[in-house]
């Protein structure tokens, strides 16, 4: 009888963010669908009540079904029989519960059978699911792919596939190959056009999450003789057509319930999605951005379970005649874990809101011409979403790994045994900073927002807030940190050497991340005093981190680069 939504008041705090009014009013086109659909909201309050109620269902399902199944799923895992994936029995139960609860295709429009939820409450559901079972979040979260299908597919393709997703068909994105991991330009899977306009796919894909799904989005080389990203297109493969076999599933360290497949395509029938040659350049980039936000949500879920497991154990475990939480060293670890969790979550939802805003304008633009004002806003929100997505993915995934590490540390020797959930959390956490682009690649995506000033613009925007008296000191400290950040960024610009900039990129991105997260937590505290403690703990952490990086950058000469050149 657990509810992972109602037992965590922080979630409602983030759901009820002031920006939600704008998001919801745009998303619901001023509530015009209430006439047509009996489950469409009448107004803003009604819509928010809907999100709250549905998240309540997600929380209950996660507390009562998904979380209790997690250990069994981790042990049993999926298997391959006759080239098909058989999920662990707990996974089947979880999926069935999600289907019955109607939690698939949450963000899809109602005309395709979706719930028409904004990204923010959908991402909140992902956050909750991940806390219950991180690996299951992958399977459930792949409904994200429908977003890409909706954005780039034809109306016929939307009508054909999206209602199936809303009814529970699973999805996968078949991108990587044995020789094309981070470097997707090297994808070789061959796509050949047939006289009837359909395509045939031949080749191999590797590391495909949920590779035996019902509907696949596949990146393949449609342009014979090409070698780079411009020869790649995106295709839709329907499992009912046959032609794709699961050769094996990987034996992974974590998220073991989520089958990671090697697939062979033998003349698999597929249809082109969108325009030729735009597969990687446009569609996969969109797909990956959505997926990265999903991994950020997954990471926050991991941080949450890691913190809860550690806190619960620290309160119960008695040593030297008292609970170990009474020892300052343990208490500090827990306070820092909570601060990292809160910082991660606030960045996650800030990102989700900007993604919501730009996507909803994009969608409105499919129906009518945007006004100049709207176009300007869309451009700004797209920039913020682009800047915050790699920051969120990179930093929340690193933090959840740190929290998982500390969770085991607090469990001591027992944490090293297979007896407690923390060992699964530790294994599950590890992938988050690797897939959908490693942290190093998130830095590559984020660095231009350091150099072009997007992060600085966000900091300035936050700084203009009217702060409560008791938060003024932190607001002042953040202004100082922003200055330190600017000095460091200016130093790197002054050196003006690509190798030097690359070397400092992660440091500068982390500085930006620390300052932005500290600001966001301060904004949370400004709105809800229960965040004040975390805001203070995180502010201390941000100061130490930003100054550490500033010190490093300010004292580092280009000549020293040679010391790091390991051959």
């Amino acid at each position: 009888m657990a509810n992972f939504y109602t037992d965590n008041p922080d979630l409602r705090h983030h759901l009820n963010h002031p920006m939600m009014r704008k998001i919801v009013e745009l998303k619901e086109r001023n509530f015009t669908e209430a006439e047509k659909y009996d489950y469409a909201p009448l107004d803003f309050e009604d819509a928010m009540d809907n999100y709250d109620r549905v998240l309540n269902v997600v929380g209950e399902m996660c507390g009562d079904i998904v979380a209790p199944n997690a250990e069994g799923v981790d042990h049993e895992g999926p298997r391959v029989e006759n080239n098909r994936v058989i999920y662990a029995s707990g996974t089947e139960q979880n999926l069935e519960a999600c289907r019955k609860a109607g939690l698939m295709g949450m963000s899809m429009p109602r005309r395709f059978g979706g719930l028409n939820f904004p990204i923010t409450p959908y991402i909140m559901a992902a956050d909750i699911v991940s806390r219950a079972d991180t690996g299951f979040e992958n399977l459930w979260g792949l409904q994200d792919c429908a977003e890409t299908l909706y954005e780039f597919g034809t109306e016929e393709q939307r009508t054909k596939y999206i209602p199936r997703v809303c009814e529970g068909a699973t999805m996968s994105m078949d991108l990587t190959e044995p020789d094309a991991g981070s470097d997707l330009q090297s994808v070789m899977l061959k796509a050949t056009e047939m006289p009837d306009g359909t395509w045939r796919l031949n080749g191999v894909k590797r590391f495909i999450t949920n590779g035996d799904s019902d509907i696949h989005l596949v990146l393949a080389r449609s342009e014979d003789g090409t070698k780079d990203g411009r020869g790649l297109s995106m295709f839709i493969y329907d499992k009912r057509d046959g032609g794709v076999d699961v050769r094996r599933i990987e034996n992974k360290m974590g998220i073991k319930g989520s089958p990671t497949c090697e697939l062979t395509y033998k003349n698999a029938k597929a249809e082109l999605c969108g325009s030729r040659r735009m597969g990687l350049i446009k569609y996969v980039m969109a797909l990956m951005n959505g997926a990265r936000l999903g991994i950020a949500a997954q990471s926050v879920g991991v941080s949450e379970i890691a913190y809860r497991e550690a806190l619960g154990y620290a309160k119960e475990r008695m040593q030297f005649g008292k609970a170990i939480i009474e020892f300052p060293a343990v208490a500090e670890m827990l306070a820092v874990m909570k601060a990292k969790l809160d910082a991660s979550r606030t960045l996650l939802y800030e990102t989700a809101r900007y993604v919501d805003l730009y996507k909803v304008y994009e969608d409105i633009a499919r129906e009518r011409k945007l006004t100049d004002e709207e176009r300007k806003e869309m451009k700004l929100y797209t920039k913020y979403a682009d800047a915050l997505t790699p920051l969120a993915k990179g930093l929340t995934s690193e933090y959840c790994n740190q929290n998982a590490y500390d969770c085991i540390q607090i469990h001591g020797g027992s944490g090293f045994m297979k007896d407690y959930a923390c060992e699964r959390v530790y294994r599950d956490a590890r992938i988050t900073s690797i897939y959908e682009g490693t942290t190093q690649l998130q830095v590559v995506a984020a660095i231009r927002h350091v150099t072009t000033g997007t992060y600085k613009a966000l900091m300035d925007m936050y700084a203009a807030t009217e702060w409560k008296a008791e938060l003024q000191d932190m607001a002042a400290s953040l202004k100082e940190l922003t200055l330190a950040y600017e000095v460091a960024v200016a130093k790197v610009a002054e050196v003006n050497m690509p190798a030097y900039t690359d070397f400092m990129a992660r440091r500068m991105v982390e500085m930006a991340g620390n300052i932005i997260m500290s600001y966001l937590l301060l904004l949370d505290a400004n709105r809800n005093e229960s965040f004040t403690k975390s805001a203070r703990v995180y502010n201390n952490l941000a100061k130490a981190e930003v100054n550490k990086h500033a010190e490093f950058i300010n004292n580092f000469t280009p000549e020293q680069l040679a010391d790091y050149n390991v051959k």
């Binding site: 549905v54 269902v57 209950e60 519960a97």
Partner: protein, 291 residues
Amino acid sequence: MSLNIVVLAKQVPDTRNVGKDAMKEDGTINRAALPAIFNPEDLNALEQALRLKDANPGSTVTILTMGLPRASEVIREAMFRGADGGIVLTDRTLGGADTLATSYSLAQAVKKIGNYDIILGGRQAIDGDTAQVGPQIAEKLGIPQVTYAEEILDLKDGFVTVKRRLENGVETVKAPLPCVVTVNGSAPECRPRNAKRLMKYKFAVSPSEKEKLTDERIKALVESRPELQLKEWGAAFVEADPEQIGLAGSPTKVKAIENVVFTAKDCRVLDNSDQALEDLIVELIHNHTIG
């Protein structure tokens, strides 16, 4: 074949979370101190009903509940999971009913519903734990009953085949329709609330709830959508004999109520010998803890 399925559901105080104010001095339950929930085994019954509905397109699942007007909450809860609508049987004169008066009142309501193929309900409610109401309704309606059901295996040609969970094993029985089936807690859990249904039926209200609505738009919405109008029936409407309902119709009287206070404060460590165990058993028999 489409079926008219009636599910008996009760709103009960959550006795799994009992605090110190759970009981009033007169020995009755202090409902204000306990959260009101859907009786757990009635949810198991609802799941069986919804499975019958899934297997027999066109079927309807109607919830019948007796209680305070706020018991309409269980109807909405059931609708979120798949039920089509429901009736709250509520009346001041029905208050204080024991199982005899309750089953009489509910049987009268079932007669009023009239056209039913099967009546499902939980084995027992967690507030009274009697398991009497379902069987008594069957008796009063003069139809067969199957108790301790774990799964409805089959329903066709006017018969239902049911797997029963008994103390020493499993029994499969067949009964002619219409009949009453009471479902055991070991039956499959009820399906979750469905997101779309939740949004669609959240404004479903009984007439007395509708009167209290302040938002005119929601009032208009309820009026324009019959599926949002829950039914509320009184004792007179179901033609119940005033002598057989409520306190008047209840031969059961609570004589006294005692609080059981556990006084043992500490654990006791026994040495690892047969004698120590035997002494403990003798002690427990002696103080009536066991035996």
